[in-house]
Amino acid sequence: MIVKLSGTLLRFVGYKKEHIIGEARTITAALDSLTTTYPTLKSILYDTHGSVRGAHQLFLNGEQLLPEDMKRQLQETDCLEILTAIAGG
């Protein structure tokens, strides 16, 4: 599957917009894989309770995800997009 990032998040993933994740059965697993590769992304993406911060929105194949969707099963062809709603300045 592919994880796409944009905006302020790019600097935490080496300015690479698309990341191919091999073995990820759920959205949580895909994000875990990404934050393992890019550890500084973890505190940016997650709050202290381990939930994705409200300022970042997740979309699976264009459909916006809710917090309860994190265990949703993924297919090899899925595209998970992480968008930052707005940034200050």
């Binding site: 944009s6 302020t8 911060r53 409200g54 930052t84 707005i86 940034a87 200050g88 300045g89």
Partner: protein, 274 residues
Amino acid sequence: MPRSHTVDYPFDTSQFTPHQFQSRSLLSVSFNVMWGWLRTHFVSFRDGVKNHGLSWVIVGIDIAYQDRVDFFDDDGFTVEVKGATLRKNGTLLDFNIEFRTAEKQIAKVKILLFALKVAHLDASLAGVTGKVEGSLLKKLRPDEIDDTTPDRVVPVLLSEIETSGEILAEGNISLTIHRHLCEVADQWCFVELMGIVGRGRENLVQANTDKGDSLLKGLSHPLKKINAELKKAYFLFDECYVQTKAYQVGEDVYFVHNLSGENKKLHASVIEKF
């Protein structure tokens, strides 16, 4: 009476087109004096973000050029923030700014900002919708608070143009948002909106120089007014698509620009009047 803030600047050639003070320069200077007003009377940009989790994004711009002013008219200009008003229950802040030389009025600029709560003060500066409240609210005077919602100029004007105007030409450009178009959060800087739509207009005019004098006004005449609504930010390396349509309405020529992204969602609309 709302509190003001005044700053003098020297003229330099980069602030001008052959016809007038550049709209991009108007916004760049406006952005700076707005933060001067806030630093003097409310809270500085840095202090607001760092210590109060309060930031702002720009959602509306109205520019009305006044007298014809060119580079040789004076050695410098004065910018005065005539006042700032907190609107819509503390969620919006509007600024009225005037540019003038000793002898002439250059332009009146209105800028509408939307309050943002910086949810987590990390390097991303990511935020969610916010409002001015608590101790910060007390820094504003009663006459600087008005809970009404500002009128939206762009949709009304666009409807009038589309109803009564004759379309002259239409074109598209695209560009990638690089850092020279961005601010500290790697988010596009609203100041650059004017240059981006100017590029769309100039491309359209130059591609249609055989279509008569009306369209040519977009290059040969000074701008009279600009109205813009900003809906969605672009970020570093995002693609920006600009669709431009030119209309004749009576004696005036309007250029209507819609900016969208890869997902076709509207990021901003700008109407330029010549």
